[in-house]
């Protein structure tokens, strides 16, 4: 962290001194403001995307900048505090930011995004998976670089049906978290659309230490389902998986995106037939652009990223600068018009599409990964064909 701060300070000092010396010649830098959670619980999700974004800015500057102008950036810590998030965002607006990068969570990112919206700037969240971080929620200038939570459910349903021949399913839902509920809503919609049969569904809460009752009900089914979708995340997810497997429930289990990552697999020895649709795989991702990203990240920060969400920060800068290049301006209206017309715009995270109404990804391919010998292994890239409508995205009937 210290090195990062020093670097920023050095960068700013350099920018300041150079701008005073060469103010006539040098082109005015483009300014990117980061309202980033560098402390508090959200830091675990925000720090790596932030580092990736910084890396992308450095790469762009090395290659000559955008529109021939260098990118300057300023980082302020939101401390995972709702009010402070808004305050630092307005400080960044005051500093003269051309766009804001805001935290990867709807609740803790929206105060900053709203400040940008009201100041007439574009804000991109590195990883919010709630469509309210967009045109219908915070406002028409607000985007998120991530896919909607529903997509992991939809991808699981379609992959299990098409590629694994599953026809009957069971769904176990952690109802204490909004994102997992959304993933389950996506699964149900896509599974029914495919014509699959849902043998049953059950819920649990994060307070539940044991899911014995749920396990008993699954064991009591007349015919065991072909697959199970488990919408849960850390730390309840692994506990649920362990209890399911311990009870000899051994059909393939698909889980929500948040369950990717090898670190918890030691808690469920011998786990197999466990699938997660992920953004990327830290080791063994088949896509060369991801490999390149990971190598660059390691070279820049000295270690590989831990979270698959890190790459989203890289794409945040990537997509905005692409739009700026195309619009030939940093003017919000012009950039917005370009971004709203992105149709399968290639980025490191995969094809990126926006419309004036849809500011979140609804059909970006995910990497289906499978647990083999105690670690996740990439199986294949899969793109869902069923696109969720607004009712499903906002979970109207729920």
């Amino acid at each position: 962290m210290k090195t990062l701060r020093h670097l920023i300070c050095a960068g700013l000092a350099f920018a300041l001194s150079s701008s005073s010396a060469l103010s006539q010649d040098a082109k005015e830098p483009i300014k990117v403001g980061f309202a980033t959670a560098l402390s508090g619980w959200l830091a675990a999700y925000d720090e790596e995307p932030h580092k990736a974004a910084v890396m992308k800015i450095e790469e762009i500057n090395k290659a000559g900048g955008v529109l021939g102008r260098p990118i300057e950036y300023k980082v302020l810590d939101t401390k995972t505090d709702l009010t402070l998030t808004g305050s630092v965002a307005s400080e960044l607006v005051d500093w003269g930011a051309n766009m804001l990068v805001v935290p990867p969570d709807y609740d803790y990112g929206s105060p900053a995004a709203l400040v940008a919206q009201n100041a007439g700037l574009i804000a991109i969240s590195t990883g919010a998976s709630d469509p309210k971080m967009g045109a219908q929620g915070v406002g028409p200038n607000v985007f998120t670089a991530h896919s909607a939570s529903q997509i992991s459910g939809i991808t699981s349903a379609e992959y299990a049906y098409d590629k694994m021949g599953a026809r009957t399913a069971y769904m176990l839902e952690d109802v204490s978290i909004e994102a997992t509920k959304a993933a389950c809503a996506g699964f149900i919609a896509a599974w029914e659309k495919k014509g699959g049969k849902l043998l049953g569904r059950d819920t649990f809460q994060k307070e539940d230490a044991s899911i014995a009752a749920q396990v008993t009900r699954i064991k009591g089914l007349e015919t065991p389902p072909d697959m199970m979708f488990l919408c849960a995340t850390m730390p309840q997810g692994p506990a649920a998986v362990r209890q399911l497997r311990a009870a000899n429930i051994d059909m393939p289990i698909f889980a929500d995106t948040g369950m990717g990552g090898d670190f918890w697999l030691g808690g469920v020895p011998g786990l197999k037939d466990f699938y997660v649709p992920a953004i990327m795989s830290i080791k063994g991702d088949p896509r060369p652009e991801i490999q390149k990203f990971l190598a660059a990240y390691k070279a820049r920060w000295g270690t590989l990223p831990v979270s698959e969400f890190s790459v989203l920060g890289y794409c945040t800068i990537e997509q905005w600068t692409a739009a700026v290049e195309k619009a030939q301006s940093t003017d919000t209206e012009a950039v917005l018009a370009v971004m709203n017309q992105f149709k399968d715009q290639p980025t490191t995270c995969g094809p990126t599409s926006y419309t004036p109404e849809m500011h979140i990804q609804v059909d970006r391919p995910l990497l289906v990964s499978k647990v083999v010998d105690g670690s996740f292994e990439a199986v294949e890239i899969f793109r869902n064909s069923f696109a969720p409508d607004f009712k499903l995205l906002f979970r109207v009937s729920q």
Partner: protein, 357 residues
């Protein structure tokens, strides 16, 4: 002159505040202005809390309840016409399908907070001091659980975004000045003095014909209204409303501000909020980094919280009754004339008697 002397405790608070706000408005950056606006809104809340806790001696941990109720009420009325029917489908039809003007929305929301304070006070104020304290905490837990699970009406634990943002630093200052006046008028009124008497000695106050129940209930209700005002300001300052913001963190911060400033006087509330807000902002900026000449300096991330805790401890060790020690700011050249400020004089006498006991 005499009226000036009487109003001095209020003027001595409002005029410097206005001066600071004017300076910030003229010379400060947008960031400083925003932080100061937030501090002023906290001040409104702290004074709301003071009206009850300072005068009655019962610390309330539950005033965020009224803040949240008013914030949500104004969000229901003024927020996001497009998204409201989808995300808050459980609202009554006339609220769900209409957007109300800002002022009536604010007033009804404050009213709702006050009514809830009165109704809950009817029960809670029967309890004796420590039980009453804890029961206000329970009240906040009840509200928190209800609002974070009442998904169709409050969007659960999710954030409501898109309230009109109209609270500028001047509006916040105006409201702060208003509640300072209200708090002062209340504390020198008959009911305020009776409540202060119960704070100093419950038995003696009761023996003199003061009703513990009614004097506390009145203060609780009034402070509920003021906390509601803070909630409305907060909602329209942030533009977002989230139940997570109206819970323990914020409560303890503001209670700490009150205690540091001196719980038993209005000046203490104002000084406490100002002092802690300045300390927080100063060291937060030090964390971000500042330059001295050509040197870039910064303190390690997270040290702001540690320093704040350290300063609070020092103050509590060396000034047990807070910075102001329970005193109001007084006209420095006054000739004691017990005729004009008899009531206040009595309380002061009672307190000094208490101290000498």
């Amino acid at each position: 002159m005499r009226i000036f002397e009487r109003l001095f405790p209020v003027l001595a608070l409002v005029v410097p505040l206005a001066g600071v706000v004017w300076t910030i408005d003229q010379f400060g950056s947008a960031g400083v202005e925003r932080v100061s606006t937030e501090a002023l809104i906290r001040l409104v809340f702290a004074i709301g809390l003071y009206i009850f806790a300072g005068n009655s001696g019962i610390v309330s941990f539950g005033h965020m309840t009224f803040c949240a109720i008013a914030a949500y009420a104004t969000a229901w009325q003024t927020c996001c016409a497009m998204l409201k029917p989808i995300t808050m489908s459980g609202l009554p039809a006339f609220i769900r399908d209409n957007t109300f003007p800002l002022l009536p929305a604010a007033l009804t929301s404050i009213g709702l907070a006050g009514v809830v304070a009165f109704t809950s006070g009817l029960i809670l104020m029967r309890l004796s001091s420590l039980s009453a304290s804890i029961s206000t905490l329970a009240l906040m837990f009840i509200l928190n659980v209800i609002y974070s699970n009442w998904t169709t009406v409050t969007m659960g634990s999710s954030t409501i975004v898109g309230l009109p943002v109209y609270v500028t630093i001047w509006i916040a200052l105006g409201c702060a000045a208003l509640v300072i006046v209200i708090a002062y008028l209340y504390q020198v009124s008959r009911w305020g003095l009776m409540l202060r008497a119960t704070r100093e000695d419950e038995v003696a106050a009761q023996a003199s014909g003061t009703s513990l129940y009614w004097s506390r209930l009145i203060a609780f209700t009034l402070s509920g209204f003021v906390a509601g005002l803070a909630g409305v300001l907060f909602a329209h300052f942030m533009g977002t409303v989230s139940i997570a913001n109206f819970f323990l963190n914020h409560t303890f911060l503001i209670v700490a501000m009150l205690v540091i400033g001196g719980m038993q006087s209005l000046a203490g509330a104002v000084v406490g909020v100002t002092f802690i807000s300045v300390v927080i902002e100063l060291f937060r900026r030090a964390e971000v980094g500042f330059s001295v000449g050509s040197m870039q300096m910064s303190i390690p991330a997270g040290s702001q919280e540690l320093i704040l805790a350290g300063i609070m401890l020092l103050i509590l060790i060396f000034r047990k009754a807070g910075i102001m020690g329970g005193k109001e700011l007084r006209w420095p050249w006054s000739v004691r004339d017990d005729g004009t400020v008899a009531g206040v004089g009595q309380v002061r006498l009672a307190r000094s008697a208490n101290c000498h006991r």
